[in-house]
């Protein structure tokens, strides 16, 4: 599904990613771990083609399409979805307006209001959020937990094939993390997407079980393994690598 080959990328002329190789197959869940500041979140921005980040060499291939030269909209339409660490609030734009426009832009068809509302109401119920969220401004006046659930509401509506969870557990209490993780697991069971979890500690791995774990250091992956690697990190820290 996703292949990153020898990727070098920078932000504001500072090289952050330096020779990164990563391959994620269909329906695989991978975890990218590393201490703060090693470029974990940079990978999210590069995959989503944030224009502040520049790819200087290497290729990113998603389902056979080279995405190096695509823009953010085109990448999103291929089915790549980012759940941001700190989802921003958008004043004056409601969830419903954004989702209706996104679905209509993606499919090229008018979105039927009845089915749209019904689906959204069911998602709100699943995520344990009031259905009033549908017509609330995106993430405005919401707590950290509510914002993450709001992002998952978008995810369930847009049905992406590849999900990036950037520090999903940040700003979440235990109960909210459980609800959010359960929702991700349900989505995985239903649609079998590939998932890239980005985190610096393994609390989230108690809820979402990965197939592979990678350690990121100096802008590249220095070690890969299974879940036991995450346990090794928990015991000995990142300095051991």
């Amino acid at each position: 599904m996703l292949q990153i080959k020898n990727l070098t990328a920078s932000v504001e002329r500072k090289k952050i990613i330096n020779g990164l190789d990563l391959e994620i197959n269909d329906s695989e869940i991978h975890v990218l771990m590393g201490p703060n500041g090693v470029g974990k979140s940079t990978i999210c921005k590069i995959l989503l083609k944030d224009e502040n980040y520049t790819i200087s060499s290497g290729v990113i291939i998603f389902n056979g399409t080279k995405i190096n030269d695509l823009n953010t909209t085109e990448v999103a339409r291929l089915g790549i979805y980012l759940v941001n660490q700190n989802p921003i609030g958008i004043e004056g734009v409601t969830n419903a307006e954004m989702l209706r426009t996104a679905l209509s832009d993606i499919t090229g068809e008018r979105v039927g209001i009845f089915e749209f509302n019904k689906k959204l109401e069911n998602i709100c119920k699943e995520l344990d959020i009031p259905k009033e969220f549908i017509h609330r401004e995106i993430n405005v006046g919401m707590s950290g937990g509510e914002r993450k659930k709001n992002e998952l509401m978008h995810l369930w509506m847009l049905e992406p094939k590849f999900i990036i969870l950037d520090e999903l557990d940040s700003g979440l209490d235990v109960d909210a993390l459980k609800v959010v993780s359960e929702s991700i697991n349900k989505y995985y069971e239903k649609f079998k997407p590939s998932i890239l979890i980005i985190t610096h500690h393994n609390k989230i791995l108690e809820y979402i079980k990965p197939h592979k774990v990678h350690v990121l250091k100096d802008g590249k992956i220095i070690k890969s393994g299974d879940i036991t690697l995450a346990k090794e990190i928990e015991n000995s820290g990142f300095t051991a690598f």
């Binding site: 224009e51 823009n71 941001n84 004056g92 954004m98 426009t101 832009d105 993606i106």
Partner: protein, 223 residues
């Protein structure tokens, strides 16, 4: 001058397909009791004076499209409350001048403006709050924001002429362009760049209104 006394709860002025068409260039509104006015204007040129009677309140929700040249004077005597909200979407040179005269005591006034300028247009917003000497117990506030698109230019002049020491007065002015972070966020959900920009513009213009009908009408007009 044309005088209209408004003493009903809700009143609509509009020049789209409205309840009351404004075919005058000068108008005086005398506000009694608690009044909500909704107004949609297009290519409009108006000198409007609003006189607030004692113990009256006014919520004035106004939306202007294309080019306009409006002068609005709001006179508050005592114990009145005015919330004036105007959003403007202009693609030609336009002017908006609002002067709020606080003539007596214990008034509340809030002037909120959101403006989006497009193409090569020039928009000047001049907002003057004039609080007379020897008045007391007044709270006045200006919140004026502009969003410049393409080659357009917005000038906002916030004037606070406060001659009384017993007043709470503050103003907030910002002029900028659409946030790249907001655009990235919306495009990352699959929206085209143009539709993301449009949603943000409309959101900026409508976020000041609590009235859903007002918001929906503006969205419809912009479409």
């Amino acid at each position: 001058m044309n005088n209209i006394v408004i003493d009903r709860e809700e009143f609509c002025l509009e020049d789209f397909d409205g309840e009351v068409k404004i075919n005058v260039k000068k108008l005086i509104l005398i506000i009694k009791g608690h009044v909500v006015i909704k107004e949609w204007i297009k290519n409009n040129e108006l000198d409007l004076m609003i006189n607030m009677e004692e113990n009256s309140s006014l919520e004035y929700n106004r939306f202007g499209l294309e080019n306009s040249d409006n002068k609005i004077i709001i006179n508050q005597n005592s114990n009145s409350r005015v919330i004036f909200k105007e959003s403007l979407l202009v693609d030609n040179d336009s002017k908006l001048k609002i002067k709020n005269n606080i003539l007596g005591n214990n008034n509340i006034s809030e002037i909120i403006v959101r403006a989006v300028s497009k193409e090569d247009s020039r928009l000047v917003v001049d907002a003057i709050l004039d609080v007379l000497e020897n008045t007391f117990g007044n709270e006045v506030k200006e919140d004026l924001r502009g969003l410049e698109q393409e080659n357009s230019k917005i000038t906002i002049i916030p004037d606070m002429l406060v001659a009384s020491s017993e007043v709470m007065a503050n103003h907030n002015v910002t002029i900028g362009s659409i946030s790249k972070e907001d655009l990235f966020y919306l495009c990352s959900k699959g929206l085209t760049f143009d539709n993301a920009k449009k949603l943000l513009e409309v959101g900026f213009l409508t976020s000041i209104y609590e009235d859903i009908e007002m918001q929906e009408k503006i969205k419809e007009i912009i479409k």
